[in-house]
Amino acid sequence: MSSPTPAVVLSGITKRFPGVVANSDVHLSVQVGEVHALCGENGAGKSTLMKILYGMQQPDEGTIEVAGEQVRFRTPADAIKAGIGMVHQHFMLADNLTVQENVVLGAESLHGIGGKARKRIQELAAATGLTVDPGVLVERLGVADRQRVEILKVLYRGAKVIILDEPTAVLVPQEVDELFATLRGMQQQGFTFLFISHKLDEVRAIADSVTVIRRGTTVGTADPKTVSSRQLAEMMVGSELPSPETRESTVTDRVVLRVENLGLVAAEGTRPVLDNIDLVVRAGEILGIAGVEGNGQTELVETIMGMRKAHHGRVLVGDRDVTRLGTLARREAGIGYIPEDRHRQGLLLTQPLWANRILGHQTRRPVSKGQWLDLAGAKQDTARIVEDFDVRTPSIDVAAVALSGGNQQKLVVGRELSGDPVLLIASHPTRGVDVGAQALIWDEIKNARARGLAVLLISADLDELIGLSDTIRVMLRGRLVADADPATVTPEDLGSAMTGAGATSTAVAEHATGAEKASESEGE
């Protein structure tokens, strides 16, 4: 197959971490000018492999060839010199530095850090369509712009081989399309891409060839033109695919969560982060909130949880007004909460699993009695969660950090469904969780719903959102601007509504008032 010299050849790469073999004997060959996709479950070792190629980690075994020459990268600097650039799974930007500073960082010897550098950035931006103001602080940028900055960073260094590790995870379909257009344009100019994504449709749309990794080893390559998403997924998992579909409605008319006219202001005199939010979740209902990241979903959840103080409006759980209560009191009122970032918000990483079981429940049985902790009860109930939710762990005494992400998430879900909650707020419950764990989490949420649980679901995964929700509301710039019917809506329609491009389908009904207000705010 390989007539000309491949851009990159990885052979026999093995990488061990304490307790895990992230890569074992991986082989990968990327042709010049192609978009080569890398697929695999969570923890399959994709990022690790790419970090090895980028010099951030050293392989224990195996060799790397770039443009036909064997190389050894000790630091990213070496890889950059060899023309390799990487856009990481998580943004790697310094918020308090300007776009220009972020871009030139580490590559100052090319054009300095002043006017010449700025000119070069503008040239690059013009050539690729990645326009962004070099003088602005990164903290002021939205996700799509940040992504552009990340790619600019790589281009600025003169990379010819560009690694994109899950670049689309935080983008809406329209932004994905834009990105793909850019990539195709650059592909024409001779750039080579290594593309990682869990979204297999995207992979098929953009890739020229696909390599699948399972449990740290390459299990094969596929032609994206011919393979189906389902086939790809089955290669990844090695078994049948689960799906989030739920159709039979269990919605009752008992209101569990009522949010009235909720508003949140970050600082005096600035644009409100949440503006007149009204919503209702009933027992047995899953209400999905769609929205581009940074449009107030996080703030909405945190305001309902009492972690932020509402500026005005009310939050009621059942008949009880909880607006003035703290987070703990709201949890006691029966709210379970799966936070969006399990490492930062969900877990005490160095504490044993049973201590993590106590978190958020510290006032309730079985983990405490009054002011006293009930350690025996906590351990017993942790064992139950481990059993019921299939948390793979040798014991409940290991620190949470020792578990894999999926297992950590199962523990969190199990905890939040303990103690008979009436309402579950699930923020990206399956983000970064592999298919197996994902299926289990979906099942648990569906079961709880069937038992009459009300669920407020926030997710960036539109398939998940459409598959699970009974109702979908779209959030834009801190307002609920549209409703969608999950039975009929497509991800593309939802995407349009989320970006404010206007409804293109009858499945999405815009709120007249919301749209008016939105246009008003543009004038401000």
Partner: protein, 421 residues
């Protein structure tokens, strides 16, 4: 100390409208602040009839007292911009005083300066090894270094200085720098100051204080402030260093050797703190090293840096404020200090008017209350008790931080232990 300080509710806005960095440049804000301070002081001086507020001598004292604090603060800036909290400044400063005395009595003031920097840098190196290589909590390591610095210098003094000075707590005396004045200008300003013309004489006094009897050390310190700004904000080295304090993972991924920059920054931080120690030893009036000489100035330096919002110009202001308040109370005690309270009342009045204009009723009411209270003190006592004036700089720092803390912005990864990989 970083992450725990952040209040989730105060996290920045989700998607703020893209806006250019700042409309008013930093230097203009600084100049405005200085001008405001001068106007305030000269008004107070006029209204209370206390010329000492802006006299040449007061300013000179303020400069001398501010110098070690300024240098320590600058040391703090370097470390914290690279993401390492340096509460060990005090210990490094102590090492600096010892080093300065040891080299100084033998080879003169310049050697003292170099040696102080080296000794301070050794303290910095230790801090870097602990925090960067071993990932020890920064505060913890800093506390240990303060202990070590004090112990080591005591021990070395007993061994080395005792035979010479017959006092284990003191070094032989160290030769000092000559001081310099812009003589013609200074004299002219002197006559102007003596005329006691409202405003004019105050400005003359302040300017004269800044250009008369200037030690090379002062010039060096000013150069270091300017130099630090240029290096940290205008060179690639500085950009890389700051990136380690903002997002070390990103920096590392771009080929920046984060460990190396952190090491360099913390060592430079130690060296600057050491020079701060030298400033104490080489201060006119100090024979040389004296045990306990730093007397918490390293901590004050840290406060000045935070006060200055992790910026060179800001920390210069912080150090100046501290030196000024301390100088005023040392030189003329409670009576003059009372005038400063009057000045605070004036300032509060201005703030209250501003708050009223902005329709911040609560803040305005609070301001009126505070102003009233202070004025009552001013009215009822004729001398502030010395127990209060001695620690006035502490009180001022506390109050200013209470007012301004929420505007401060520390480097995002400051105090966070960074591990490669």
């Amino acid at each position: 100390m970083s992450a725990s300080l952040m209040n989730p509710a105060e996290a920045p806005l989700a998607v703020p409208p893209p806006r250019r960095a700042r409309r008013i440049p930093g230097w203009a804000i600084g100049a405005l602040g200085v001008a405001g301070a001068v106007v305030l002081l000269s008004t107070t001086s006029y209204l209370t009839g206390v010329p000492q507020l802006t006299s040449t001598g007061t300013i000179q004292t303020a400069v001398r007292l501010a110098l070690p604090i300024l240098l320590a603060a600058l040391g703090g800036l370097w470390a914290e911009r690279a993401g390492v909290v340096n509460i060990g400044l005090e210990g490094m400063m102590i090492m600096g005083t010892w080093g300065a005395a040891w080299a100084g009595y033998q080879w003169g003031p310049w050697a003292a300066l170099v040696s102080a920097a080296v000794f301070g840098a050794l303290g910095g190196l230790l801090h870097a090894i602990a925090t960067v290589t071993f990932g020890v909590n920064h505060i913890v390591s800093g506390v240990a270094i303060n202990l070590l610095g004090a112990g080591l210098t005591k021990y070395l003094s007993t061994l080395i200085f005792f035979p010479l000075s017959h006092n284990p707590r003191e070094s032989p005396s160290v030769p000092k720098f000559d001081t310099y004045s812009a003589s013609g200008l200074s004299d002219w300003l002197g006559t102007l100051e003596a005329q006691q013309r409202v405003g004019l004489s105050d400005v003359a006094g302040i300017l004269r204080g800044l250009i008369t009897g200037v030690s090379p050390l002062t010039m060096l310190a000013i150069l270091l402030v300017v130099g630090s700004y240029l290096v940290l904000w205008r060179t690639r080295f500085g950009l890389r260093l700051r990136s380690c304090g903002e997002n070390p993972v990103a920096a590392e991924s771009l080929g920046v050797n984060v460990y190396r920059y952190k090491y360099l920054a913390v060592i430079a931080s130690g060296a600057l703190a050491g020079i701060g120690g030298a400033a104490l030893v080489l201060n006119p009036g100090q024979p040389g090293y004296l045990e306990g000489q730093t007397n918490g100035r390293g901590f004050i330096g840290l406060a000045a840096m935070i006060f200055g919002n992790w910026r060179p110009g800001g920390l210069l202001g912080g150090a100046a404020l501290f030196g000024y308040a301390d100088g005023l109370q040392l030189r003329s005690g409670g009576k003059t200090f009372l005038a400063l309270i009057y000045g605070a009342v004036l300032l509060l009045v201005v703030i209250v008017i501003w708050q009223l204009v902005r329709r911040r009723w609560f803040a305005a009411a609070f301001g009126i209350l505070a102003a009233g209270l202070l004025y009552a003190i001013y009215y009822s006592v004729d001398e502030v008790p010395s127990e209060l004036t001695t620690y006035a700089p502490h009180l001022v720092t506390l109050i200013v931080l209470a007012v301004a803390s929420q505007r401060l912005r520390m480097p995002a990864a400051d105090g966070v232990v960074y591990r490669r990989g």
